[in-house]
Subunit: 465 residues, 2 copies
């Protein structure tokens, strides 16, 4: 099967059969058919259940063989002992793509490992590809398709997610920050990281890939696929099992080897992947890559309302191998003319004294524009206030930050503080290019990772000597 | 002056004089008198201004010497050239505590350094203690007193804050997570970290101290004061200027030496302080110490709905020198009886298969109770869902987590995920003892720091051999 055909069968099938769907439907029933309907899937849906005639208003047949239509994808959720037989009956019915959702296989006990092997044997006999077991399957907001029994919000965020656990689907807001196309490989018994990276590589609806891996099988294929994706769009990756205890648990959970962490780390880095150490970093970077223009170097300017915040940022820049940009006299001249004569200006650029004299919006607008125009600046970290409405009128700067950022092709991140910071963050979230970050330090982290990716890409795209 | 007298003059004066207060009042005027009124301060307020007779409905006198009453504290906000003279006139009027708010002193230019010296000379002549310059001064939610021109919400959170920048007052929610008593030392020309640590040491309204230091003067006094505080309540500290660039900037900003970072670090640790590397850690720990019972060891149990989350936690526990608790058979027996026979159970304790059979609330309640009762467990990290209302009825566990946590004297932190995680977090915020954490990894960080503090305290309180 070609990559594109495999991708189509699993992520945008024209017809899907659910085998072992719950009888109940409606709120609280955790019935995947409800979720499909809610998303407006327009392919055909077939239901298989031995004991009922109708589920969620759809007709039900007792056996897969009774379906009188071609089926692209079957989703099996029957008790584990029945799964090898169900896979075989799918094969007999001409189905070549199967998702097995249930737990109780290689991640569980010796009998589960036997059953997983038997299932794979049946699949091989019929040329079936299997996703799972132990998975929520696929979600594809672009094409209105999903196989999840947990209700999920449909979105067309340009983010592809490959994971080995459904927690990334249900917790996508907390862990990833958005998801247009998602693949939960579960135990990864057959369809694997390399396969699905190929799916993402050619998908022009995506601008970043988020990857969660517990174990890596077919290491060379994985690394080559990742390199291919990285040349077009970044991959941000959480590879768990860093610690010996975590690695042992990961090997059990996914049934594959977790690998020597340092080796894995080096290989991932060489393939251009951005490996992060926790899920907050994953979310921060995904959000940055879908919003911000590229970070073409490591020189950062800071526009701040607080000297103390500027110092924290100098520490953070050093930690992440960024450097404070040396602002030119041209970039400093206007702010200097607006500041009290005693105010020493450099980078971080503390504009508080200037704005106390001349007003927030005027000073912020001019200084941010001058800093962004400086050819020695690759990206900017802004500090902004979120105050009660009466004060925000005079001390708010979100609108001018958005206005000025839109005119420049450099990344701008913004940290907001104050009693009404949440409102300022919300304004930033819903308009413009500047990205709100949850802390100064994480603003520096984001720009550093973006710079690392651009550096890798510029090297990787050069023809070999 | 005794410590208590100094603290009373600065943080809960019976009478305060504002010298150089703005003429305007009301929303947007940034007038400290408005903020005092809004907080319901019941001491007497005197205003000094050469050109107006009334501000914010209060009478104004042209000179400090014209005030016909005793004044505990003067707040000077006049242009920098006038400050040494103003301090002298405060001295002549019998005032012994002065806050100087304006910028343009040692942090600015050579003239600023001269003026700061002249101001200190005048203060010394009259026995005046000075806080600042370059400060928002003091906020004391307990006694309804503040000197800030930025409007701040009054609260009685049992957190004392000592900082060298007003950003910690205005951004207290983002940076600290709460503040009942706050002292912004600004340039720290006189009243310093050691002084104010002594104020906090004896204040039984406080349960944790958050400290932000750019430079440390009187190092030995600082460390001794910190040790004294730490024996009663923890100090969580951000010491900036870790990097050479940051250290140089910190020395300029506060006018003091930042010190060799490794030396500072070792001294802070020996005094029991919990030094953190960023403000998110500061906020996490402050929130933990005011909410949670002590973490008496390093053995952590995890109750999880996701195997992948459990593995991430094993990595995080290893990173922070915690260990996964070895759960006893007694602690595991009940969950095992509720789980499918194939489910291997250990720590992290994955209860998903059990609850799919027996319901979330029943399984969560029993398993959390059993784990908390295990004598080999010092603290627990819980994973919980926040879903749409229809699903939350069956898959929500916040209520049982709160109920069970309240019965045990061990810290419980909770990471929530799902489309409605914010609602689950809000429930946790507003009731019970279990603390919501923004990620699994930060849950581990919090328990680790709490364990470190308890270990230090048990050693420090032992009599010397």
């Amino acid at each position: 099967m070609t990559i594109n055909r495999l991708k189509q069968l699993f992520t945008s099938p024209r017809s899907v059969a659910f085998i072992g769907v719950p009888r109940k439907s409606g709120p609280g029933a955790l019935n995947p058919v409800d979720n499909l309907n809610q998303w407006g899937y327009d392919g055909s849906v077939h239901l298989v259940h031995p004991h009922v005639q109708e589920i969620a208003g759809l007709p039900v047949v007792p056996k897969v063989g009774d379906i009188r239509a071609h089926v692209d994808l079957a989703v099996i959720s029957t008790p584990r002992e029945t799964v090898p037989k169900m896979v075989a009956s799918c094969g007999a019915a001409g189905i070549t793509a199967v998702i097995v959702t249930n737990q109780g296989f290689a991640e569980a006990d010796p009998r589960g490992r036997e059953l997983q092997t038997a299932m794979l044997d049946a699949a091989r006999q019929y040329g079936i590809r299997i996703m799972g077991p132990n998975t929520l399957g696929v979600i594809n907001g672009f094409d209105r398709f999903n196989t999840s029994f947990m209700p999920l919000r449909r979105e067309e965020t340009p983010v592809g997610v490959i994971c080995q656990s459904g927690v990334f689907f249900v917790g996508s807001t907390q862990l990833v920050g958005g998801m247009g196309l998602g693949v939960d490989l579960g135990n990864t018994s057959d369809v694997d990281l390399a396969d699905t990276l190929h799916w993402m590589a050619a998908d022009t609806r995506l601008r970043v890939v988020a990857l969660h891996a517990e174990g890596i099988s077919r290491g060379r294929a994985f690394i080559e696929a990742a390199r291919g994706v990285s040349q077009r769009i970044p991959i941000v990756a959480v590879k768990t099992g860093r610690s010996p205890a975590g690695a042992k648990a990961a090997a059990t959970h996914s049934g594959s080897m977790a690998g020597e962490d340092a080796v894995v780390d080096a290989a991932m880095r060489a393939a251009g992947m951005l490996r992060v150490t926790n899920t907050e970093e994953l979310r921060d970077l995904v959000r940055a890559f879908i919003r911000l223009p590229p970070m073409r170097g490591t020189r950062v300017a800071v526009v701040t309302l607080t000297g103390a915040g500027g110092i924290m940022l100098l520490d953070a820049l050093a930690r992440w191998d960024l450097e404070p940009a040396s602002l030119t006299e041209a970039a400093l001249a206007r702010v200097q003319s607006l500041s009290p004569t005693w105010m020493p200006l450099s980078n971080p650029l503390d504009i508080w004294p200037a704005l106390m004299k001349n007003g927030m919006k005027k000073v912020y607008k001019l200084s941010l524009a001058d800093v962004l125009s400086d050819p020695g600046v690759d990206g900017v970290i802004c500090v902004a206030l979120g105050l009660p409405p009466a004060e925000q009128v005079t001390l708010g700067a979100i609108d001018v930050i958005q206005e000025v950022s839109a005119k420049h092709d450099k990344p701008v991140v913004v940290w907001c503080y104050g009693s009404h910071a949440a409102e300022a963050v919300s304004l930033l979230e819903h308009g413009g290019r500047a990205l709100p970050v949850p802390s100064l330090e994480r603003g520096a982290f984001v720009l550093a990772a973006m710079a690392r990716y651009e550096r890798w890409r510029s090297t990787a795209s050069r023809p070999a000597a």
